[in-house]
């Protein structure tokens, strides 16, 4: 007999089925016991024989096979078990309970026992939502004519100017882990693919341990050629996010419900504020003193302002100053740039913008940042041979996931987070 998935039981009333999964709950009532069976498609109550439970040594989290009849009990489907087989035993006491509504241990314990903690319904749901977001990203971009690429993570030079790089021994050479696929995705635009995306880890050797930083995180990157300016990228991101949220709503209703997550609405356009103006608003309205850049607290306040004024949970900040942006950023008038950040519920989840496509301008920009342009010769080559105007963006997948669900720490949205102190499990 083939295994039946729990989600398919509704159409099998009266039939004998074989189920396989974990013992989620177990309540003995004299001769009979109620066993809730859990697998990836759902939960179902099985009415079993207490003696058999004892003989087989079933405990919470034992892996079992239950053969029985599907019956309707009020609104729910239930299994009248005829046979139970222990597939895989539990050898030790669980370090914490995973079948309650809330998991009542701190984040460190959760992460130390990451695999067990992921058996908890809410924590499990986080990564189904994350997978759905990733697939929403891929599917939307495919329709828009983007090509998926895999660019190297072992690199000879940093893309952002050489700080915060993890160093690697590569045979006789010194190498680094890529901070971003920035150079490579631009190069792939110039290689004629025009529109490319990547879903991969990037690495930042940032020393500070905050609840919004990871040293290894998933960057949803895209880059496209033949744009007018950064507004083309912002419009694309607006449509992209709408599409990803739409997919999430359709395919992850149960998971969103489990997590009590409320999806944001995106209107025709996401409000957009030039950074210098945002800084003025923050000063006038909240008495916040900022120079030319915004800080995490400022991002929270500008989100509150925008939410109140425009009813949007997203806001684009634009026109960042050149001195705060990497050397490949396309400059605009007054020392500003054709770049943007996207703030979602008070946290930056995207950085993007138009890039410089003119060779001489790019070379000058590299040097004006105090960098040696000769070290960037591999990157620069394509700019000599006809590089179209282009731009792109990167979405931090864990940050997007955390903000959507309302998690307080981005680590909760990383399967196996890597931070200042943690490289296990």
């Amino acid at each position: 007999m083939n295994r039946t998935l729990i989600k398919g039981l509704n159409s099998k009333i009266g039939e004998t089925v074989k189920l396989q999964g974990w013992v989620h709950r177990l309540r003995k009532l004299g001769k009979i016991a109620f066993l809730i069976l859990r697998e990836h498609s759902g939960l179902v109550q099985c009415v079993v024989n207490t003696r058999e439970v004892d003989i087989k040594g079933l405990r919470l989290e034992s892996v079992v096979e239950i053969t029985g009849t599907v019956v309707k009990n009020d609104e729910n489907v239930e299994i009248l078990a005829e046979n139970i087989r222990l597939i895989s035993e539990v050898k030790e006491e669980l370090p914490f309970e995973i079948n309650k509504k809330d998991i009542e241990v701190n984040l460190d314990t959760i992460l130390n026992h990451r695999v067990l903690s992921l058996r908890h319904q809410s924590l499990n749901s986080i990564f189904k939502i994350q997978a759905c977001l990733t697939q929403g990203f891929i599917e939307f971009l495919k329709v828009e004519g983007f090509t998926q690429i895999f660019t190297p993570k072992i690199v000879s030079e940093g893309a952002e100017g050489g700080t915060e790089l993890f160093e690697l021994k590569y045979f006789e050479k010194k190498a680094y882990l890529a901070q971003s696929p920035q150079f490579y995705k631009q190069m792939m635009v110039g290689a004629g693919y025009e529109r490319v995306f990547e879903t991969a880890h990037v690495y930042r050797a940032e020393k500070h341990n905050t609840n919004r930083h990871l040293n290894e995180y998933v960057s949803l990157d895209l880059e496209m050629g033949f744009i007018e300016d950064e507004k083309d990228i912002m419009m694309l991101e607006t449509r992209l996010l709408k599409s990803m949220l739409h997919k999430l709503k359709n395919e992850c209703a149960d998971e969103l419900n489990t997590l009590e997550a409320k999806l944001p609405e995106i209107g025709e356009e996401i409000p957009s504020i030039p950074l210098p103006e945002a800084i003025k608003i923050l000063n006038n309205k909240y008495g916040k003193e900022l120079d030319i850049d915004i800080d995490p607290e400022g991002e929270k306040l500008i989100y509150e302002h925008v939410k109140k004024e425009y009813g949007s949970e997203f806001v684009f900040l634009t026109h960042y100053p050149m001195e705060k942006r990497p050397m490949y950023t396309m400059p605009a008038d007054g020392g500003l740039t054709h770049s943007f950040d996207l703030i979602f519920r008070g946290l930056e989840i995207t950085t993007g913008g138009q890039r410089i496509h003119n060779f001489d301008m790019l070379k000058k920009s590299i040097e004006s940042k105090g960098l040696n342009s000769e070290k960037f010769s591999d990157y620069l080559e394509v700019f000599k041979y006809g590089m179209p105007p282009h731009g792109g963006l990167a979405i931090g997948l864990e940050r997007l996931t955390a903000q959507l669900i309302g998690l307080g720490n981005v680590r909760e949205a990383a399967l196996f987070p890597r931070d200042r102190d943690r490289i296990t499990p």
Copy 2:
């Protein structure tokens, strides 16, 4: 006026359109010139004014915008240009020609100028095919109930026993680059996702420089729970490959044609030969002396044998000896294992099998390989708390791509290959 893509011109006969792309070819015939424009969707001939070409300084690979009327010329569509704008100039002589049928430089030159070489039609097609294969993998597994995961590439311990690891300075700690997501994908099965996949780079510090090895390559990994044995994985791979090839045939006909690539057929089942039997066949038929494992030459010969006998370009080799397989491999009778390799056109493109799911057996297996099981405590934890029978596989994306197209060196199927000597561009 919005940009029109070349692939959409057929439905715009008689209309004025704006095209953007690279100058692929240029032939002056007195007052008029024929300019072939190239962009990611195709090529089109534009009839332009020679004087304008000269004034604007157009060269091969210049990025241009051409406005003109779409006309039908015999079977083809053509543009009668009214206006040309130079968008991005070419500053230097191209290092080699990229508009001929074949690219007439050696692989090293191609890779040194990787971005330019990818503008060549055949080389460009390789990575459109690769993207299509990746998406075929993702789409098939999604329908089969698999969850996409991102597992860490910065790890504290190797999965295959500690050799061939790249070492990394991780703040005060020592870390390594992941050789495979093996442990993590198994752990995610045990975390309750049951079916998971990942499309990501893995890292092998192999010192030898062959035409089938890369030090960084894309591994298409999957793992699934509640299997009977390795045959479930082999059946899944058969259906998976069929689905990927079907998608390729439908979506990349032009690219396959450009590369003169012939797709293999897969019948109801892929032939399967136990390794000890394969070794006997190689001895009897080809006089090849092998001990208990097969070598690359043996893989080529067994492919020839299978192709002749069964008409298949794929063959599963099964029952590898335990001493040649990693410690997590499920043992079978006679010192053999429930594992397999898939050979495609003479090259191994997949390793897979059933894994040990019993804690005590796994601990013993680790120790029998001379490893310290305490170093694997993070991996082992989930096996104490109910681990279902499971198995999985990994497909080397560059190898699969190379074999499908008939490339002689796996580097040709890596965008920016990393090998013993190369970490640039």
